[in-house]
């Protein structure tokens, strides 16, 4: 297995581990966006969210809830951002599904992406495409 997260999970390479249970491991990102930036990954090697089981994804979310609380209390920050990048077009660098938990502070300069409204009829068109198999 040539996956860097699997190596960290299996302790083949060192990592600063924040939390671990039977399904999930959380460790520090070595290139933190802010201090305490934590990666939450399933122990099973799965590249994409599409192939992850509901049980593993739920376990990741429950772990986030716990880690988020520990981060806010431990670091005294008032919030955090959580994100998951799926596929390289979305900035996924390690093909082992993972959440980033980034502690946030006022004035940290991390900006939201710009957004705009739908044009006439575009939302309806988009909705029909998405709803097709839900």
């Amino acid at each position: 297995m040539d996956c860097i997260f699997c190596k960290i999970i299996n302790q083949d390479i060192p990592g600063y581990k924040v939390y671990e249970n039977d399904k999930v491991v959380a460790f520090f990102d070595i290139l933190p966006i802010s201090p305490g930036h934590t990666i939450i990954a399933p122990k099973n090697h799965v590249a994409d969210l599409e192939d992850l089981s509901e049980a593993d994804f739920s376990a990741m979310a429950i772990a986030v809830k716990k880690i988020g609380k520990a981060v806010m209390e431990g670091l005294g920050v008032k919030g955090y951002s959580l994100f998951l990048d799926n596929k390289s077009a979305a900035n996924q660098h390690v093909p082992h599904v993972h959440f980033h938990l980034v502690p946030r502070e006022e004035g940290d300069g991390l900006e939201r992406w710009p957004s705009s409204g739908y044009g006439e009829g575009e939302a309806e068109d988009c909705l029909q495409k998405i709803k097709a198999n839900l």
């Binding site: 290139l31 599409e50 429950i62 520990a70 959580l82 390289s88 979305a90």
Partner: protein, 131 residues
Amino acid sequence: MCVFCDILAGKIACSMVHENENVCAFLDISPVNYGHTLVVPRKHYENMHEIPEEVLMDVIKVVKKVAQSLKDNLDIQGFNIFQNNGIVAGQVVPHLHFHVIPRNDKDGLKHWTGGRYGDGDELEILNKIKF
């Protein structure tokens, strides 16, 4: 008053992508990219602290289904999932929600970049958080 509660109560119109007993998914009226969808619990919880584990599991299942549908039905190469807790994190509506944002190779969205910890900083931070 909560704008998401108003949407879920039908007082404000929305483009509903999917709904079930505990969770709704609808198009963000101000999308980062077309198909940008918000997934929210019907009941009002402000953030990850407040939402009970069982409701979070219901929400996360819908997040996964919405992401799959975006991938299957829109011409996209990936997606991001975002969830912000607290005003400092850019949370605008104080009703827990996940953003699912379709991505294309050439959409030009810039990502936050990381730096390195100074000597000993990583361990010091870890000791404050670890449990």
